[in-house]
């Protein structure tokens, strides 16, 4: 009964099938909850012409930032890309295209993509450059713009724990975009800190039901901190 054993044991297997010019949706916020080893595997594979959908694009030398080094990303869909010199260079030189999307709209586009909703209306961005060229419609006297959903050929996700069914739980604010990305990939690959026995995860406490997940791999994580801020005890 191989049925629901989604665990793979190599990063090659985890990302098998990823090809040039595909769309990859990635979970994470800043460097928090990013699928760092799956990103590294994409670098190893050398896949080119990628459209990457993620709230941010990592930093120089870590996270999605490393995919800029060999110009693997052709287009980035993100809400904020401010932390990356290489990004800036490639954007200014025209090598990289960027589609800035408000953070809430980006999250909802991923959710809608996974949920079979091709488009929705939001007030976010109406009257701003984000609304340019988009359909405007009034509901109850207020103007909204139509936003279309996003789907990926692959979704890459970082979770805390998984079972072999692909059921996932996330840890603290490392949840962020991960459960949304997980629903929106034709192939959804998840790396986790721990693979638990079936039945260990309480059914009503699972963040991402396994139906969305195709492959699970056990990883080890650097978890780099972007803004280390402390108080004195």
């Amino acid at each position: 009964m191989a049925g629901f054993n989604k665990v793979v044991t190599s990063y090659e297997d985890a990302m098998a099938g990823l090809g040039d010019n595909m769309t990859v949706i990635a979970g994470g916020f800043g460097l928090c909850g990013i699928p760092e080893n799956l990103i590294a595997q994409i670098k190893t594979m050398g896949t080119k012409g990628l459209t990457v959908v993620s709230n941010n694009c990592g930093i120089d030398g870590f996270g999605l930032g490393i995919l800029l080094e060999d110009r693997q990303i052709q287009k980035m869909v993100a809400s904020y890309v401010g932390e990356n010199k290489l990004f800036e260079e490639q954007l200014l030189s025209g090598e990289l295209e960027v589609e800035l999307t408000p953070q809430g709209t980006l999250a909802e586009k991923m959710r809608a993509g996974g949920a079979g909703i091709p488009a929705f209306y939001t007030a976010t961005g109406f009257g701003t450059p984000v609304g340019d060229g988009k359909e405007v419609r009034e509901f109850n006297g207020r103007s909204y713009i139509m936003e279309e959903s996003i789907k990926g050929d692959f979704a890459i996700v970082k979770a805390w724990k998984a079972d072999r069914y692909g059921n996932l739980v996330y840890r603290h604010t490392a949840q962020n975009f991960n459960p949304l990305a997980a629903t929106a990939g034709k192939i959804t690959v998840v790396e986790v800190e721990e693979i638990v026995e079936p039945g260990e995860l309480e059914p009503s406490q699972i963040h991402t039901p396994g139906i969305y997940v195709d492959r699970v791999i056990l990883g080890s994580f650097e978890k780099r901190i972007e803004q280390r801020t402390v108080r004195t005890a």
Binding site: C32, G82, L92, G104, L106, N176, I225
Partner: protein
């Protein structure tokens, strides 16, 4: 005297009410958290997926999986909840957050706000700001009244690309507390020691000045 950053935060904090859910933007807005009156309970929303943001962690408490929207390490208070970005912006877009405080480059008499993009400069992105201004009913913009070069940031019409249209009703600057209504700025308070004339001089959009303009109280 123009308000310091700390005083700006203090003045904004006067708009808090007991039981408010509040989203504080990066920069001066973040400082507002330091001035919540002891008699009051407010809950801070951080749009990366945390309701009930607490103080920065101690060295021992630090956890890479626990950050705020500014990507700073934080803690969670008792009663906090943690959720996905879609849920977080459902709260924001759905108008469930009681007060949003954020900075801006420009605000105009129509309540437009520009805060994310200066053409010709590198564009970093709007992050959650467009959702925050579209979703909140109660927004306070806090910024300096004028640029370093003395150019007013309170305009007849924003010159920079907008973050949101017709959404701002309250502005706290280092010189004044101003409300926006009926296509005008309404001067409500002035910073201690700042003259009405100075505020008039540095306000480019139409400003309604009452006979008596009280000083801010701290």
């Amino acid at each position: 005297m123009a308000l310091t950053r700390e005083q700006l935060a203090q003045r904004v904090a006067q708009e808090l009410e007991d039981g408010f859910y509040v989203n504080l933007g990066i920069g001066i807005p973040t400082l507002v958290a330091n001035y919540v009156p002891d008699s009051m309970e407010v809950m801070l929303q951080s749009e990366n997926g945390l309701l009930g943001m607490g103080p920065f962690p101690t060295d021992e408490e630090i956890d890479a999986d626990m950050i705020n929207a500014g990507k700073q390490t934080v803690t969670a208070i008792e009663g906090a909840s943690i959720f996905s970005s879609a849920e977080s912006f459902a709260m924001i877009r759905g108008g469930h957050v009681d007060l949003t405080v954020l900075g801006a480059f420009e605000v105009d008499v129509s309540g437009n706000i520009a805060s994310w993009m200066i053409p010709g400069k590198l564009i970093k992105g709007m992050g959650g700001a467009m959702d925050l201004v579209a979703g909140a009913d109660n927004i306070i913009v806090t910024m300096t009244h004028a640029s370093k070069h003395g150019e007013s940031k309170l305009l007849a019409s924003c010159s920079l690309p907008l973050t949101g249209a017709a959404c701002i009703k309250k502005v706290v600057t280092d010189l004044a507390y101003i409300e926006i209504a009926d296509g005008k700025f309404w001067l409500k308070e002035r910073a201690p020691g700042v003259s009405v004339e100075e505020i008039i001089k540095l306000t480019a959009g139409e400003l309604v000045v009452p006979e008596h303009v009280p000083e801010m109280q701290f």
